[in-house]
Structure formats: C-alpha cells, structure tokens
C-alpha cells in the first residue's frame, strides 16, 4: 500500500534529493516517502580510494560499499572499516550502495518509512514511535526522535576519527556531520544541496587492531539491533588505546567513552572488558521496549574486545 494507495496527504515539502546508488532512495521513492526532484550524482562523483605518503586513505564518496569491503589495503590498514562494510546489507546492495549514500541515508524507523504516518522527521509534531511500538528504538534517548541512526559506516568512521569533506565544508567529524541526536527532523546536518565528497581516514597507529560485529536475530542481512566497531592498541598486554563506536542504540553513532576510559591502561583480559562493558551503559536511557539493547551492547563489547585481545 504505497502512499497513494493509502490516500495520505504529502507529508513533507518535496525537496530535491541526491541519488547515488539509489538503494535507500528507490525504496523511499516506491513507498512515496520521497517525492521531491531527483538529482542523480552517480556518474559525477569521486569513486577512488587514494593513499598519502603516511599511509592515510581518502575515500571518494561514491566508492561502493563492496569496494571498501573487498579492498585489500583498506582491510590491512582499517580492518574495522572493511569488516563494517562486509557486515551491512546484502551482497547485491553492497555492489551499488556508496559510502556517501550510506552516511546520508534516512532513518529505518517503521513510522518514518510509512508515507501515511506523520512523524518528526517528516515535519510532524510528535514521535509516534515513542508512544507506540519502538522495539527497535534507541536505548540512549538523546532527543525527540527515538529512531537509531541507520548508518553502519558512520559508526565505523567514528571509531577511526574520520573526517568528511563536502562540496562546501571540510574536516567535518562524524559528530559534525550527524549532530548530537537532539535534532529530530533530519538524519544529518547537511544543508540543502550540500553533497558529501570524500572521507579521510588518519593513518593507522602502530599495532592497532580493529573489528566489527552486529547483533541480529538471523545470521545475515538484517538491520542491526546493536552494532559495534572497536579499535584498540594493546601494548604489553594492556590497552593503550580503545575506541568504541556503537550503532543501533542512539539517534547518532555513539562513542562509548565511559568504557574507553575504564579500559585505558588496563590489562586486556575478560575481567576488565566485562567491567568496561557495564560502564558502557552509563548514561543510557532506554525506552520501555529497548532495555534489551543495553544487554546486547555489553555482549558485543565483550565479544569484540575479547577477540581483539586474543
């Protein structure tokens, strides 16, 4: 039942939208959630991965997720980025979906995705998920909208301190790009007509390791209940650097700083990891239906960090 079938009124002022791979866009188009002009950018943008002398990569925004997932040098330098790319969507979608599109994709909230229901992201005044069914909602309730940010790559890039360049600005952190979760109407801070051009990753640190995992109910091809990209440097059996970025739990990808602090300088073993996993949920504010996400978050931290500590 697309929008017209349901006789709903247009829910938002149609604004022009960029289309890269079109995977998220076409679905919203089919359902009637997106009704504005299409600006196809697939032929015009940057699809290259380039490396500087320090071993730092710059990824063009139109690079496909499959390219990132299978690029040997990316996998060696930034294994958490490669693993995140391998873990998202399906093989066919990864072939055409782009990194820029992944960052700028729209919310997966059930209510947002239905053209016949108003919500904050579509110019409405209330969040129907908050009072309704928010099984897949946030567990860190940071703003009026309770949908977690959908971008797996954003969480990965957050863990790697990536910066983003648009056609208007450069040096944007993930937080600059996506905001702090307090803004309900958008999934990012890009101005109308502003386009992501490229993503820059700092050169990997000596001895750093990284990994990614998502908690889902099936084996593959499911939006994460919770996902975690972790990056560590372990020297002499102790954590020298820990970067934990979680998706699926908050309106924006979340750095788990309390857990990072708890682990810094600690022995890389199951006990310290378990303690840090508990600390990771400090400041969490779950909804009536989402407390389980905090358990899954702890499980993921233990899973990923124990593997990285091996």
């Amino acid at each position: 039942m697309s929008v017209a079938v349901m006789t709903a009124r247009p829910t938002a002022r149609p604004t022009p939208e960029f289309r890269a791979g079109g995977t998220d866009f076409s679905e919203r188009r089919r359902s009637g959630v997106s009704q504005g002009l299409v600006v196809d950018i697939s032929a015009s943008g940057d699809k290259a991965i380039t490396w500087d002398a320090n071993g730092a990569a710059r990824i063009g925004a139109l690079t496909t997720i499959a390219t990132i997932a299978t690029d040997a040098r990316i996998a060696a330098a930034y294994p958490g980025i490669a693993a995140s790319a391998q873990g998202l969507a399906t093989p066919q979608v990864r072939q055409v979906a782009t990194l820029g599109g992944n960052l700028a994709q729209r919310s997966r909230c059930w209510y947002f995705r239905r053209a016949d229901i108003d919500c904050l992201k579509k110019g409405g005044t209330t969040c129907p998920a908050r009072s309704g069914n928010h099984l897949y909602g946030v567990a860190f309730d940071l703003g009026p909208c309770v949908a977690p940010h959908p971008s797996t790559m954003a969480a990965a890039l957050l863990a790697f301190d990536a910066t983003i360049a648009t056609d208007r600005r450069s040096g944007l952190s993930i937080a600059d790009l996506l905001g702090d979760g307090s803004v309900a109407h958008a999934d990012h801070t890009l101005a109308a007509g502003e386009m992501i051009r490229s993503i820059a990753l700092p050169a990997p640190l000596e001895g750093e390791r990284a990994s990614y995992k998502r908690a889902i109910s099936r084996t593959y091809a499911e939006w994460p209940l919770v996902e975690l990209c972790a990056r560590v440097v372990i020297t002499g059996g102790k954590f020298q650097l820990v970067r934990l970025a979680a998706g699926g739990v908050a309106p924006v990808p979340l750095r788990l700083t309390a857990a990072e602090v708890a682990l810094h300088g600690q022995i890389a073993d199951a006990a310290s990891i378990a303690a840090a996993a508990k600390a990771a949920t400090s400041g969490a504010k779950s909804l009536p239906m989402t407390a389980y996400k905090l358990d899954l978050l702890q499980g993921l931290i233990r899973d990923v960090l124990e593997r990285l500590s091996d």
């Binding site: 093989p91 908690a215 109910s217 084996t219 593959y220 499980g299």
Partner: protein
Amino acid sequence: MTATTINGRPLVLPDDPDALLIDVIRDGGLTGTKLVCGSGVCGACTVLLDGVPVVSCLLPAQAAAGKALTTIEGIGSTGLHPVQKAFMAHDALQCGFCTPGFVVEATAFHDSWRATKGTATPSREEIAAALSGHLCRCGAYEGIFRAVAEACSGRFDGNDPVAPRLEARDKVTGLARYTVDIHHDGQLEGVILRVHVAHARITSLDLAPARTIPGVAAVVPLLDDDNMVRFVGAPIAAVAARDRRTALQAIAAISFKPEPFPAVIGLDAARRDDAPIVFDKKDRKRAGNVSEGAGGAPVSWKGNVRGPSAPFSQKAKQAKSWLDEARAQRNPLLVEETFRVSTQQHASLEPHAAVARFDGDQLTVHISTQAIHESMEKIAKRYGLPHDKVRVIADHVGGGFGSKGSLGLETIAAIELARAAKAPVRVAFDREEELSVAGYRPAAELKLSLLPSTEGRLKALSLTAHADTGAAVNSLIAGLARLIYPADAKELVDYDVLSNLPPGAPFRGPGGPPMSFALEQAVDEAALRMKIDPIRLRKLWDPDPNRQRLYDWAAGLDVWKNRKPAAAQEGRYRRGVGVATGYWLYLWQTGSSVELAVKGGRIVASCAVQDIGTGTRSVIANTVAKAFDLEPQDVEVRIGRSNLPRGPGSGGSRVTASVVPPTLLAIDKLKAEIKRTASRTPAPGSNAPWREMIAASPDIAVSARRQEDGTPPPGIRPALHEAGIMGRVFGWVLRLMNHMVVGAGVPSSVQVMEVEVDTWLGHVRVLNAYTGLSIGKLAAPMLARSQAAGAVIQGIGYALYEARETDPLSGHILSGSMEDYRIPGIADMPKLEVHFDEAGFEHVPGGSVGIGEVATVPTSPAIANAIRDALGVRLTEIPFRPDRLVAALKGRDAA
C-alpha cells in the same frame, strides 16, 4: 535516451529518472526477473550488470547505461548453465518464484569460484554468505546448498540431468509464467484504494475525480454495503489505468470521508470490558474466517470475544476439579504455564494477483490461487455465470501456504474492473498489502494446565486459547489437543478475540503449531518433573501407532542419546536438544477426478488442480509413469485449468491423497482400453511393451473419480474419532460442506532439534534438525524431502524470527516490508536429517497422504524444548528473538 544491452540485444533506457531497471526489464517482456520485496532484501529481482549481481528493484534504469545487462533469460540461453542443471537435479526449488534470482546470483558465484578455485567444493558457509541477499519462503535452501556446491565442483558440467520436479526446467530458466507475468494486449493495471484509519464509517465517496484522469479506464467501489471499514487497509475502491503510476494518481484523486469510530487494536486491548466493539451483533456475519473448514456450531459472543467454543472438551468439569485440587495441594507434577505465539504472515513471494479478461461473455481469470476449480465455482456463483463461461488458470503459483485458498479481493477487483473497462485488468498486491491485509496465522495466548496421575498417566489437561484474529473468527487451537495424548479428562476452550486489525486466514496447519507449541512444552516439562526421558513419556502417553514408530526412531538418534544436561554447561555458548510431536488430519476431497488419455502416442494426465510448489505435476507423472514403465518426463501432465476434470484445492494437505487414488483407477481403465483398442500386441520379449502399445494406440481417454479408501487395519482410525461423537459430527460437516473426508490413520511428525544459544547476544541457532515423518508411501520422494525441509525452516522462522508488528494506537501494520517481517535466510537453515516411515496408510489407494502441514507442526516446541535443555530456562513466547532471550536470561540470574 541512453542505450545498453540486455542479454546481448540492444535496449534503450527511458529518460525518466524515476524509472527502475526491473520495470524496464519486465515491461520488455522478460518476466523471469521477479518483483517481490521492492526493498532489495529478497533478491528475486537480481540481474547481472557487467557480470555483477545487483537488485533491479532498487536500481535506477539509468544506472545500466553503457553496461551489459543479463537477466535469467540470458543465462544458459545457449544450453543450461551448470548451476541451472544442479538446481534441477537437486530440487533446489519449490514454487520457483525466487529461483531466477537465486540462479542468477549462484551463476555469478559459480563462475568466479571456478575461475579462481577450479573444481574445489565451496563450504556451506561460503555459499550461505554469497546467497545471503536472497530469500525463499518455501525453504528450498537445503537443495540450493547441494546444488551450488556440486555445480562449483564440476559435477554438472556435462549433460542435462533428469529433474525430479517436472516443471523444474521452466523454473530455473525463468520461463515459468506466474499470474503476475500474464500480459494481454491492451491490459490495464488495477490498484486498490485502501483506508488509512482502523475503524470508521465512510459517509461519502466520490469516485468521479479519478475518472477524469487521462489513462484511467475504470473505477469501481469496493466498500461493503454497510459502508464500514474495520481495519487499516480495508478496501474502498479500485481503479484500472494504463499503468500503475496513473492508477496511483487516480486513487489519490478519489475523495471519501471517514467518520471515525473508536478502534481497538490487538488481543489484550480488545478483550477488556470497556473495549470498543468491532462487530455489532447484526454485523458478525461479516467477519472473516481463519480456518480451513466451515464453522461448527453457533458460538456465543461477549463484546469482541467470541466463545467459549469447546466442542472437543471431554469431562471438562472433571478436568477442572482435578486441576483445582492439584493446585490446592501444590502437586509438584502439575504443569501450569501461559504461552504466547505471535502472528505469522504467509509472505508468499508471489503476491495475491489476478488477471481478468472478458471475451464476449467468456471470462478468463488467471489467479495466483490454491483452488482453481473452487475459484471457478465461486466466481460463477458470485457473478451469475454458467460454469463453462468462467475459466480459471494458474500454471504456476508462487507460494500460498493457506493464504490463497478463497476467492480474494484481488480477483474480485480484477473482474469488476475488467468488466467496467471492457479490457483485461491485472491486480497484483504490493508487498505491503501482502504483509498486512492478505491474511496471517493469528497470534494467541494459550493457558495450559497438565496433570499426570500418580501412576504416571496423563490424567487431566486444560488448554484455553485466545486467538488474536483481527476482523475474523473461527480459530481452532485448543480443540486440536483432543486428538493426541488421551487423558481421563480434558477441558479445551477456544476463543476468538476480534479487533480492528486485518482478518487472519488459514496458514499451514492452522491451529496446529500454536497448540503444539503449548502442549509439547508442557509434556516436556512434565517429563522433567517426572524425571523420565521426554521421548519415553510420549511413548507412554501417545498410543498412535505411526508416532510410536517415530518415537523409536527419535530415541535412537545419537544427538538424543548424547545430550548433556543444562547444569553441566557454563560459558557463553550453550547447546541443547529438544523433541516435539505433531500430527495433522489425513484429508482427501470427494469428487476429485483425473482423466488419462493417449494423444498422439503419448499419455496425457489432466486434472483441475494447481501446483503451488508442492509438486502436484510430479506426483501425477510419477504415479502414471510407474504403472506404464515410463519415465515421468514421458507423461504430459495438464493441470492449472479449471475446465479440466474437477481437482482438489491445495489446502489441508489433501492433494496427493485426492489425486493419486483416482489416477490409479484411471490407469487400470486406460490399460484395459489400450489393450482393447490395440491393433497388434507388442513384440514378444519387448523391454517396453507399454511404451510400444501407447505409441501405437489411437487417441483414447478415460477418467476416474476419487474412490473410498479400503478398510484400515484394526485400531487405525480417523484422527477425529479420538474426539468421540463431536469428532464424528465435525467429520460429517467437513464432508457435507467442504467435500473433505477425514480418513483413517494420522499423518505424524516427530522432530528433534539441536540448538546453540549465544547467551551474550541472545542469539539462537538451530544446528541440526531431525524430522521424522509418517505420511505413507512417497509419491515423489525428492519433492517430499523438499517439503519436509521447507516445513522445518518455516517452523524455525515461526520460532525464532517472524513477528508482525503493529502500532497499538492506530492499527497500522509496521512490519509491511521484507526488511521488517523477517523470514529465514539460507544461513539460518540447519543441517537436516529427514526420516520417512512409509507404513501406516496401506488402506489408502497408492498408500500416500499429504505432508505439507504435519511437517511444520512440531518445529517451534522442539526448539523451545531445546532452549530449555540448553539454558535450564523455559521461554514461553515466540519468536525467541534476542530481546526475549536476554530478558529470560536476566530473569534467571535474578531468581
């Protein structure tokens, strides 16, 4: 205009930036590429773009510019690809609707594997990862694993194989045409306008604005005559236009005013005393029907609650008093629990669809249906047409699972639009319609009390089921517990709880899986308390001879004998093994007829039956071929047309038992007729006397109707006889009203599941599944195995993943996409062992009964019992999602 090539031929792409590749492909007549989910998750629309698999349902057409596009039709166009041959040989398909997508992806995987790894065999994990962007609702994954592995290893580089499924070649090449693929000259596209509120009276409806839109050919109202709408998505009107986009514009132009009524959503809200009423007394007959048979005796209503319905109770008062007494005495053997099962959507990959066309007064309707003959009768009755003026066609049906058994709105809309437009009209539900208003197995709350006697027999059982039926009635869950595990007393009570949700519908063994989910866990719990092996207890309590043999098989499995107790397990991952039992009725349809003919020296078998992926063609071909010493491929099977001899509907697992017996009768008649008309006898010592005689025979035809069964051995009775006089009454009603006979002997299933639980991430994986089935002789062994495997994976979906999500206030279905309604993928398929016990139905001509339903009944409780075995904690609500697992584990920690 930009150009590309499709299967090597030039293709001009449209300039429209919104045009999607799938529409360009299908509008060009290449219908092997299927539209299913429209969200890139099921892979049915997969095509190759410069050799790379992509989903054409999301791909802008312009993205194909300058690239070589290959569809399923372009694969193996000069001879079958090894993957196609392997799919055929391993029966890696059932309804076939997902097959083109799987084949396209698998050929790309195969070609790159062979290029780099030669003829090494890929692992299950490698295959699963490569095919993780595909979904199959029939659950053909087991065959797909085998097919891809063996194609990669080079085993299918040679000659074309003989496929156990008669129509397999058409399905692996994309040539099989389903209802959605039908295209007549001048055909219009129909779309249904649906309401966006849960409960209202439509006080005004203006169709005129839609009629003025260019390209619109017809607009018809679909409102019920009381002008009420009782769920989000209830139909208001339908439009036929030159294309879907125009039709969508037209329905958006229709204006109507809903006068809102208070609405109530879901089981818990609807049974409150102050809940708004969904159906007033006078309107109750407007409710839908969630069962396969007709309703039984009149049932009382209170508000939205219809019931109690308890015809199958047995000494209910006695049961109650024994259970009260046990409760008062805190009898440690008394098992009491409340279970919950969730709503299960059929999620057939081919949506409900119909294409209607009038040629003068002759109406031809292609329908994606489970009942072509009955649909023809119902259409004729509804529109006052003689039977010979209505022809229903379904050559291939992309899944049904119970949802396509009755005359649906898609058909009514297509017929009425075609009549009004004087042109052929196609109506095909979109995925959201399919996953919201096209029926479902209702969720239910099941309150159960089970009391063993001090001697260890089953003394009393009480089961009360409240089913979340939406705008429908007639759920039968608790009553089914009468037909297994005889007890001294049983109180079995069913209630329908109606609310402003779409109506439920029959779904594969309707109330069987929910009943089994509760009862089989209770029996398991009783065994734990009685400190007796759960299979041993079932052997004691369940005298059915078919299941007795299956229990012996299950008890002998290594996985069962080597179980470790939960208490012995520590750490993150825990393993458990569980068992459960299921049964279904053996049903056949009276009047089912088969015609056998020799035409042009070839045997032709004809029956107005449909093949929804279950293998009806092969069942008939195998039966005929065996009798004449032919290969099944030598027999031409004509089905899928209502003007053939009357055949059964595909529901109640009745097809095989309805068509094999008359086929056997017809075989005898045809043999006699061939001999009688033969001008000469075969050469003495001929290796193939029948083949020679058929080749030399003049054109002749015979037909036969389904005969009664032979006398069963003593003690073999119809399942309904367990329910005494009420069971017999129920049987009579079924025969009179539904032309269905409950035969002697009980199709049965015993399953053993081994699971691994990840206690950190709340993830349950079924590692190994063992399914033992007693369904008589196998008319088509490989296809029976495919159904057994498919039933298990569908049961795994029910147990672990599948849940319909609704908004509790507005009544919108939130899980209306395949992203959000989660059916199992190939990686979720466990290793499977199938055991067929072919005895028990010798009194049935041919010895075969149906498999579809019984095979899925015990899967969810077997998994529940395995989780209990792994964790020492019993989960009572499915699906066992991560959120429920971690909550249950916390509950245990807290306790």
